[in-house]
Symmetry: C2
Subunit: 243 residues, 2 copies
């Protein structure tokens, strides 16, 4: 039954695709300064993939054969610790790349990637990418920039969400981060709805405690919730109290 549902979504997606593809090209944030002929080459050697919410894109340790560009949707990178707990290291949005490191260094993936929304990818073959690395200095340099940026972001979020700040403050930082990176929907709610469990896996605590603090935030009129969605009432108030 999961398969039927998967197929349905895929078919819906395929119907849309023809319209979509002509309307807007894949974004490839990380390669935005590449010249168009290079972009075209990458585009030619790639195919679209649809993966519904909650599915694994690839798993820690797996040898990748594709470089993925997230055309639309959202994903998480995570690692398991020795005790079997998940640690979410990065949230990915439109235009971001998945699999860079594995293709650069021929190692298995160091993180697992899972979709947080229904997502569309542009999957580029290993061969195309490796040819580009070896033959096109500009591409290689773009990759350098992309990795530099990855490291910067990784360290930034490490400080942002690290302990030594109390979970209240870290959760406030996370809500503001979600607001900045993924924006809000038409009702003003955070566009990326994370499970309490995922928030806990980002901040290094338990889902129950996240829930307790969210309740506190609600009672302080910093946020409101409807069903399981969260709306920030005032980003300024959140920032002020917890930054």
């Amino acid at each position: 039954m999961i398969i039927v549902s998967f197929l349905e979504k895929s078919l819906l997606y395929l119907c849309d695709m023809e319209k979509c593809e002509t309307i807007k090209a894949p974004q490839l944030n990380d390669f935005k300064s590449l010249d168009s002929s290079m972009l075209q080459q990458l585009k030619d050697g790639s195919q679209f993939i649809f993966i519904p919410k909650g599915r694994m894109v690839f798993k820690e340790g797996q040898q990748l054969t594709k470089l993925y560009c997230l055309e639309d949707g959202a994903c998480k990178f995570s690692k398991m610790d020795t005790a079997g707990h998940e640690h979410i290291l990065k949230l990915l949005g439109k235009g971001e790349l998945l699999g860079k490191r594995s293709l650069i260094s021929h190692q298995g993936a160091k993180v697992s990637a899972r979709t947080l929304k229904d997502s569309r990818f542009w999957a580029m073959d290993r061969g195309v990418i490796q040819k580009a690395i070896n033959e096109n200095p500009k591409f290689c340099k773009q990759l350098l920039f992309a990795l530099t940026d990855d490291l910067n972001q990784s360290e930034h979020s490490r400080v942002l969400f690290s302990s030594s700040k109390g979970i209240r403050q870290r959760l406030a930082s996370l809500l503001l981060y979600l607001n900045d990176k993924f924006g809000i929907n038409t009702d003003g709610e955070l566009a990326l709805q994370l499970k309490r469990e995922d928030m806990a896996a980002i901040l290094g605590t338990s889902p129950e405690y996240i829930i307790n603090i969210l309740k506190e935030f609600k009672s302080q009129n910093l946020i409101s919730t409807s069903k399981t969605r969260i709306k920030i009432i005032s980003t300024a108030a959140l920032e002020k109290r917890f930054s």
Copy 2:
């Protein structure tokens, strides 16, 4: 007086240098697979620098004009959070590079670097490095590998030292990590002596609490201390109890 001391050490170092340099070439772990002509080019366009323990090499935000290779000694990378607390992101040992990102992307440094021991660097000029990036595909690819590795390490230590594990376990992980990466001296004590404050800044807690747990470890015969140095009595016992 600090200056006198600095000069003395520098002079001592200069006296040693002639002997040293002919004996062993800088290690450049990150570039180890480069051909020797490339290594020679890098070496020609560089100079030795001595920086005593506890000094800043560069500061968050600073525009760098050198790529540093740590010939001997040890350093830390850290960032300040909005509350002014230090977060140590990485410990660096022999052969590691400092300043890669700043030279790749012309941005200010994203971290501060400070020596944890008297240290010798090989400082390569920005011009030499940028020429190498642009003209030598092999060098560019080596940098890709180095950055990939940085990211891998960053994520690994993020999981290793993250909350969700209790500080007892994180501190045990840290001691084992220090043992692996920096080894022990002739008395069997950890070769890199970190201040309790630095341990706290790695694990995201307070120096006092670190001290309390070290006392606990001592009473459990997992470690012993003499003066302020730490000796792991049995790595196996530490691993067993806290992994």
